[in-house]
């Protein structure tokens, strides 16, 4: 029996590590850690109650309560939309439309990941869906044309995570619900940091191609006249149409952010039917693939919900926040400490679990230190983005590994510079919070 919550926290982290590293499925690892935590803790139950009944009740409740969620129901829809788009010509058209615009910039087609991800991020709510959809089109194409794989892989990993930062964003929806922050404002607030991040990625690609000319293959793309470029622009039109549909619906007061995902699905289906390249077979495969991804993510979420319930019961959250509060850190140091904590958590957990698990502990501390929930939401999105590309559990890494068939160390090495750029961006947002507040302040009644 362990009485001190902080000691118990360490013991639970130990159990979690053993379970995770023993290759237990993540959902089960989290559930197992929670059970171990309750067994180690002296709960002070009245004699009439059994500890196993209590654990079982909590587990059943968290399976039901964590998934019976309106906000979360947008997740499978965003995944579904990505699967439909991937299986139709819309994605190839996007590539055709973008290529002519990139041939004159140093680094040429390396920028395709950044641009395509930025665009896709504006229709897709998750980084996983963005990375998967764009990566499946671009990686093959770049290798075929002789581009260096390292920069291609890295830029995909980095840019793909913008799916969470540029609206619509699943993480922001979940954060908004948990923290009672306006989801509309969060969406708007992510735009400027998102665009700057894309710009930084592009600058890095330009500098690398100037420093290492051998990374960029000899000119082989035909040069395009302005007429051709504009003509080919209509190839991107379907994607713009989707963006207008999804975001326009939200900001014209037709749909709520949660509902926008359904509009996206219907829009993607309509486009696929219009271009006549959605077969019954590929539709079925899109459905099942979306089911698998959603079940995988939500099983982890249910496990995380159970674990965070236990963390609440045994008082770890309280002890930790009291401990951090007792350190009397200055606001910037506090944000630094929290950032390091998130980097660590981000290695072993996925983004959504991180948000769900830590928010009840961290948000009050952060608000106490003078930060607004809106700003912290954007900061948290950066932390979640980082978690997507840190091993051993990094959803974007898994996806890229799956698409590119490269081994993990190669992908990690390629991703590292973009990881650093993301950290730089998180620092920038902390030092210049106006980057976050500027657009939301312009909103009606902001």
């Amino acid at each position: 029996m362990i009485g001190d919550p902080l000691v118990l926290a360490l013991a639970m982290v130990g159990v979690m590590f053993v379970l995770l590293l023993s290759s237990t499925w993540i959902g089960f690892s989290l559930i197992g850690t929670g059970i171990a935590g309750l067994l180690m803790y002296d709960l002070n139950l009245p004699p009439t109650l059994s500890i196993w009944d209590k654990i079982g009740d909590l587990l059943a409740n968290s399976m039901w309560n964590s998934m019976n969620s309106w906000a979360l129901s947008a997740l499978p829809l965003f995944v579904f939309m990505g699967e439909i788009l991937y299986r139709t010509a819309i994605s190839t058209k996007l590539l055709n439309g973008l290529v002519p615009w990139l041939t004159r910039i140093p680094g040429r087609l390396y920028h395709i990941n950044v641009v395509a991800c930025s665009l896709f991020a504006a229709v897709s709510g998750s980084s996983a869906a963005t990375t998967a959809t764009v990566g499946k089109i671009t990686l093959d194409e770049l290798t075929k044309r002789g581009y260096h794989k390292s920069l291609a892989l890295g830029s995909l990993a980095g840019a793909g995570t913008m799916g969470f930062l540029i609206p619509p964003s699943l993480i922001m929806i979940i954060y908004g619900v948990l923290s009672d922050t306006s989801i509309g404002k969060l969406f708007i607030a992510g735009i400027i940091p998102g665009l700057i991040l894309a710009l930084l990625y592009s600058l890095y690609i330009i500098s690398q191609s100037l420093l290492h000319p051998e990374y960029v293959p000899e000119e082989q793309e035909a040069s395009y006249s302005w007429g051709q470029r504009l003509g080919l622009l209509r190839e991107i039109l379907p994607v713009f149409l989707l963006i207008a549909l999804v975001l326009g619906g939200i900001y014209m007061g037709i749909t709520t952010p949660t509902e926008a995902a359904a509009i996206g699905v219907v829009g993607a289906l309509a486009l696929a039917l219009y271009f006549r390249n959605l077969t019954w077979e590929s539709f079925k495969e899109a459905c099942l693939a979306a089911v698998r991804t959603s079940a995988m993510i939500c099983f982890i979420i249910a496990g995380a919900a159970f674990l965070s319930q236990i963390v609440g019961f045994v008082g770890i959250a309280r002890a930790l926040s009291e401990y951090i509060a007792s350190l009397h850190l200055s606001p910037y140091v506090l944000i630094l400490v929290i950032g390091i904590m998130y980097l660590f958590l981000g290695m072993i957990l996925d983004g959504i679990s991180i948000v769900v698990m830590t928010l009840p502990i961290v948000l009050p501390i952060v608000v106490q230190a003078g930060f607004t929930p809106l700003w912290f939401g954007i900061y948290l999105v950066f932390m979640v983005e980082l978690s997507q590309i840190t091993p051993p559990v990094g959803f974007s890494l898994f996806i890229i590994q799956h698409i590119s068939q490269q081994d993990l160390p190669t992908i990690l090495k390629a991703t590292f510079p973009f990881f650093l750029i993301m950290i730089f961006m998180a620092v920038l947002v902390t030092l210049f919070p106006e980057l976050v507040f500027y657009l939301p302040a312009k909103m009606v009644g902001g």
Binding site: T24, M67, N68, W70, F299
Partner: protein, 159 residues
């Protein structure tokens, strides 16, 4: 054994099929809500409630199918360094643990559903849905998941 494996796979595919239907169901519910609100200025009052129920069904019914397609993530960093025998042993241990946890959850979700039903609990919504109905799908899904975990153990034991 081969027959068991195929039987379980068939059940889980059927589960995934229903999952997909629930996913499409969410899309349809939301579209009806959006159309009714913007064209007829009225609301179904059930969309947010039923979307939640559908999500539960989508997830739990898809668990087994996802396991079969190796869709559930696990960290293979150390596992990858073991030899085939070590891997097999590790999988048997980990699979048994998963099966135990799944059966544990299954037992208590059955109790939850029975309790919710006998207590006559309803949602605090316009529909006043009896809560045991949307909850009942959880043990079904966990049952499929447990079968698939069992099949995984059998497959690994015989490999």
């Amino acid at each position: 054994m081969e027959r068991l494996s195929r039987f379980v796979e068939g059940l889980c595919t059927a589960g995934a099929f229903f999952s997909a239907l629930f996913m499409i169901g969410i899309v349809i519910l939301i579209m009806i809500e959006v159309v009714m609100r913007s064209l007829f200025n009225t609301s179904t009052m059930i969309t947010s409630e039923f979307s939640g129920y559908f999500l539960v069904a989508l997830v739990v019914l898809g668990l087994g199918h996802t396991l079969h397609h190796e869709g559930h993530i696990r960290i293979t960093l150390l596992r990858g360094r073991l030899g085939p025998v070590g891997r097999k042993r590790l999988d048997l241990v980990v699979g048994s643990l998963g099966l135990c946890l799944c059966l544990f959850a299954l037992y208590f979700t059955v109790l939850m559903v029975l309790d919710t039903r006998s207590l006559g609990m309803r949602a605090d919504t316009v529909a006043e849905t009896p809560l045991w109905m949307p909850q009942a799908v959880i043990p079904v899904g966990l049952g499929l998941f447990a079968l698939q975990l069992f099949a995984f153990l059998v497959r690994r034991a015989r490999s």
